[in-house]
């Protein structure tokens, strides 16, 4: 079987995307004006504190009674405080205390929290249990009381207090790191790295640390702000070192003179507010910058393929039947769905037309990105808000649905147009019993009493092949299997006797034996109730099993529409032919070790279940190995 090499192998990706994103968090951060402002402010504050001796000749600790509450002057640019110390000098030197103290606290928290989190998250077992227990204990301890006790016990040392505060903050870091490590560890690429023979240390360094880095930096920025607040609080209470200038002690002094010289509050208050706010906003900006990478790193949503304009010459759609819409249940003409993106509008469905007659099963087939699900959701009116939908005609049983309001549409949805989803489990609410979820729409749409609705629902559950309907009626969704959940959803879909059933890959998530049963069920319900069905699928086997007519879609447009027998026997469009050629159903089975026909029989014996090995066969299979590998690439 030879297939045309399509874009899968040519790697048609805009290289511009490559540069963006990797070039980094830093660049994205610098494009954010808030982040730049914060960075500049913090840099100024740090530099001013660092070079305090150059900026002022005054000693922050020297008090002179003559300068007590001195006004602004050449000697004291910001005046003097209650005991005649220079306010500017204290502000500059105080920045050192505040920033260093906060840095120390954060450093301690990170140094304890990150390694502990890495080890606990990566290796789990006893270390995880013990460290989590300790961390919970630390989080339960009231931080401010511990700090007061420490300071009263070992004396008024600001830095020691901040180191202790760092220990108290470390559980936050620990838990964050541990959680991120645990989630990364489950990723298949970490398994692949283990299989590649990387040591644990190397896996942690290459694959886990980079993931943990981002949340740590954000957390650190937030903690710096917190550290400064706590430290100032302690100083304000008069618990800091008496000789060291700090913003907190300045506030303390200013508070004492609040009636005589209230403006003393302004300078330390301003310094604190600006610094703490800058750290907080910087943390947010960092998070946004990092989120940018996270978002673009996710897998593209289904159906969101960009179409290359004019990249391929499409053969016109092949519609092999009379477009007779007289007995049609649903007529859709000229459906276009597009989404606004950063690169302009992206059209995912482009001029789709289809018709479903009463009692007819229409298969809507295509690969991912063909727009088949988008088409189904557009008929249901369930596309996301940002989608721009346009139709020239969307007529259901003689009513134009395109112009209906939400309330009017709700009378159709679930009642006359029903829906069966792909993922049965995520479409049942885990917090309600199955019975309640089935009864509600029946009561609403058919106006039955509770008892009538219950009887009807139980009957339906029995009808969809559930052997103990009473039990399933009372069960919660997690108590039933995936196949049974799909039966429940089908029961729900047909409960209001719809005329049209839209099933979006209803069996894709199911095992093949369960799929066969669910398809049987859908077939019998369909013929029993004479429903029109739109079956969205990518599986031509399912199409062959259930459908009367097939519409094939490619990149948002219909390429072929034909009765099922005709489509399989004589596909007209090259894309349909390519898809049908890709099915493996009729492929020749590989014979046992095709490299050498003559040895195949004995080789098959040699590689039989262990224990039944016969040495003669091994000779041959080993010989094959050798020839095979000599042709290898290396």
């Amino acid at each position: 079987m030879k297939l045309p090499d399509s874009d899968d192998t040519t790697g048609a990706v805009a290289p511009a995307v490559a540069a963006q994103g990797r070039a980094g968090i830093l660049r994205r951060l610098l494009r954010n004006p808030v982040a730049v402002t914060c960075l500049v402010l913090l840099a100024l504050i740090s530099l001013a504190s660092l070079f305090a001796p150059l900026l002022t000749s005054q000693d922050p600790a020297r008090s002179s009674l003559t300068d007590s509450l001195a006004p602004m002057s050449g000697k004291h640019p910001l005046g003097g405080d209650g005991v005649g110390r220079d306010v500017l000098a204290r502000l500059l030197y105080g920045g050192r205390t505040s920033l260093l103290g906060a840095l120390l606290a954060v450093a301690v928290a990170v140094v304890i929290g990150v390694p502990a989190g890495l080890v606990a998250g990566y290796y789990r077992k006893w270390f995880d249990a013990v460290s989590s227990w300790v961390s919970n204990l630390l989080m339960a301890v009231p931080a401010i009381i511990v700090l007061l006790v420490v300071m009263s016990a070992v004396g008024q040392n600001t830095y020691l207090a901040m180191a202790v505060f760092g220990v108290l903050m470390s559980p936050g870091v620990f838990r964050l790191i541990r959680a991120s490590v645990i989630s990364v560890r489950e990723e298949l690429y970490v398994d692949a790295a283990r299989v590649s023979g990387l040591t644990d240390a190397r896996i942690i360094r290459r694959h886990i640390l980079p993931v943990v880095q981002a949340p740590t930096i954000i957390q650190a920025a937030q903690m710096l702000g917190l550290g400064i607040v706590i430290q100032s609080g302690l100083e304000f209470l008069g618990l800091g070192s008496a000789t060291q200038a700090s913003w907190g002690s300045m506030l303390n002094d200013a508070f004492g003179n609040i009636y005589t010289k209230p403006e003393l509050m302004v300078w330390p208050g301003l310094a604190l507010a600006v610094t703490v706010a800058a750290f907080g906003l910087l943390g947010n900006a960092l998070r946004d910058a990092l989120d940018g990478t996270a978002v673009t790193g996710r897998k593209p949503s289904r159906g969101a393929t960009t179409r290359k304009p004019g990249a391929e010459k499409k053969a016109p759609p092949v519609i092999s039947e009379a477009q007779d819409t007289d007995d049609a249940l649903l007529v859709l003409e000229g459906l276009t769905v597009s989404y606004p993106t950063a690169q302009g509008e992206k059209t995912v469905v482009d001029g789709v037309c289809l018709t479903v007659r009463r009692g007819e099963v229409l298969g809507l087939v295509g690969e991912s990105g063909s727009g088949k699900s988008q088409t189904a959701f557009a008929i249901l009116g369930l596309l996301p808000r940002e989608a721009q939908v346009a139709t020239t005609r969307l007529e259901f049983d003689g009513t134009e649905l395109g112009r209906l309001g939400r309330a009017a549409m709700n009378r159709y949805r679930g009642h006359r147009i029903a829906y069966v989803p792909q993922e049965p489990m995520s479409n049942l609410d885990p917090s309600f019993r199955i019975g309640a979820q089935l009864v509600e729409p029946v009561r609403r749409h058919l106006g039955l009493s509770a008892a009538e609705a219950r009887t009807k629902t139980l009957g339906l559950l029995e009808r969809v092949g559930i052997s103990d309907p009473e039990r399933v009626f009372r069960a919660y969704p997690h108590q039933i299997s995936g196949g049974m959940a799909q039966r429940v959803l089908i029961a729900g879909a047909v409960s209001c006797e719809p005329d049209l059933l839209i099933a979006d890959e209803p069996t894709t998530a199911l095992d093949v034996t369960v799929q066969a049963e669910v398809l049987d069920l859908m077939r019998s319900l369909q013929s029993e109730r004479n429903m029109g069905v739109i079956l969205v699928t990518h599986d031509f086997g399912v199409v062959a099993d259930l459908c009367d007519r097939v519409t094939v879609m490619q990149t948002g447009a219909v390429v072929e529409s034909a009765p099922v027998d005709q489509l399989f026997a004589d596909p007209q469009h090259p894309y349909t032919r390519m898809l049908l050629a890709s099915t493996l159903e009729d492929a020749e089975p590989r014979s046992a070790l095709s490299l050498s026909r003559t040895v195949s029989a004995s080789a098959a014996g040699a590689v039989g279940i262990a224990g039944t090995t016969d040495p003669a066969g091994v000779t041959n299979s080993a010989g094959i190995t050798n020839t095979g590998r000599q042709e290898g690439p290396a």
Binding site: L188, M484, D545, F568, A592, V607, V618
Partner: protein, 312 residues
């Protein structure tokens, strides 16, 4: 290319005892600890034996919960083996220490199901492909050359190396994952549903690539999948799993066209064929078999009809 040098030209076993297939699992039992205190562990594999010869593909088919993925992970050393052994090239490799296990990484490799999570999103394709080589001590220049060769082998453009995984489609990513598995010339690759996440046409092309690589390099595949038609296309032999046990093995043609075990028959008949007439026949056949089973001793309880939380 380790191990092929010591005189297998005429097929002589390298040791005195009778040689055995390249990879052998014997009575493999894998258990995961249950949640809850003093509950017995959950047994995923219940004494499974398989063997794969050099250059051979063993297809492993089963439905969800059959233990087929766990068997692959046990071979890779990623699942806790409670008893039984895995032997590679005559040496026992189950229960090895971390260091010995790492030494095996040049011989046994993996391609996972989900091409979206099996590649580190933060690393360029070059970094992803050269990592296993650098671990093995390959000099940088040589590794770079090898990466270019690998990209060529899996038919990706040479400039693919500079890009990040997210810039590729699912099929292309799976090619990158295959290139990574090939980077150190392994002798066995465990393929865990490598085409299940791909579109139909992409799937066929990736399978052709698998076959082509095997014919060129003589690598053996343990090919785990739920899809009988995929297995038929790629396997020399097929093993069918159910409930942690292997219920049928045989060459691919027999198992996928004329299976012996009723469960395999059920599996085969349940898979719809893309041909309306033949599918109608197959459907009738399936119903007939179901009727026979139901009328018979009826020990065959369909798993999906049981009300339990075993699918959690």
């Amino acid at each position: 290319m380790t191990g092929t040098s010591n005189g297998t030209m005429n097929g002589t076993p390298r040791k005195e005892r009778p040689a055995e297939p390249l990879l052998v699992a014997e009575d493999l039992v894998v258990e995961y600890p249950s949640k809850g205190w003093r509950k017995p562990p959950f047994r995923v594999l219940k004494g499974v034996s398989i063997s794969i010869g050099a250059g051979e593909t063993l297809g492993l088919v089963g439905e969800s919960g059959s233990g087929k993925t766990t068997l692959g992970r046990a071979v890779l050393g990623l699942a806790p083996i409670a008893s039984g052994t895995v032997r590679f090239d005559g040496k026992v490799i189950s229960g090895l220490g971390a260091k010995e296990r790492r030494a095996l990484s040049s011989d046994i490799q993996v391609v996972f199901q989900d091409p979206y999570t099996s590649l580190n999103p933060a690393m360029t394709v070059n970094d992803i492909l050269s990592e296993p080589l650098r671990v093995a001590g390959t000099p940088r220049a040589e590794a770079e050359k090898r990466v270019r060769d690998l990209l060529d082998h899996v038919r990706l453009p040479a400039d693919a190396g500079e890009r990040l995984p997210r810039e590729f489609s699912g099929g292309q990513r799976q090619r990158i994952a295959i290139a990574r598995a090939l980077s150190r010339d392994p002798r066995v690759i465990v393929c865990d549903e490598p085409v299940s996440a791909l579109d139909l046409s992409t799937q066929a092309r990736v399978l052709d690539l698998f076959v082509e690589i095997q014919e060129r390099t003589g690598v053996a595949y343990l090919f785990v999948t739920h899809d009988l038609s995929v297995v038929r296309h790629i396997s020399h032999r097929v093993a069918v799993m159910r409930g942690g046990e292997i219920i049928e093995t045989g060459d691919a043609a027999t198992v996928t066209t004329a299976p012996q075990h009723p469960y395999t028959q059920r599996l085969l008949l349940a898979a719809p064929v893309p041909d309306p007439q033949r599918q109608a026949e197959r459907r009738a056949e399936r119903r007939r078999l179901a009727a026979v089973l139901a009328a018979g001793t009826s020990t065959e309880v369909p798993t999906n009809a049981s009300m339990s939380g075993d699918r959690a």
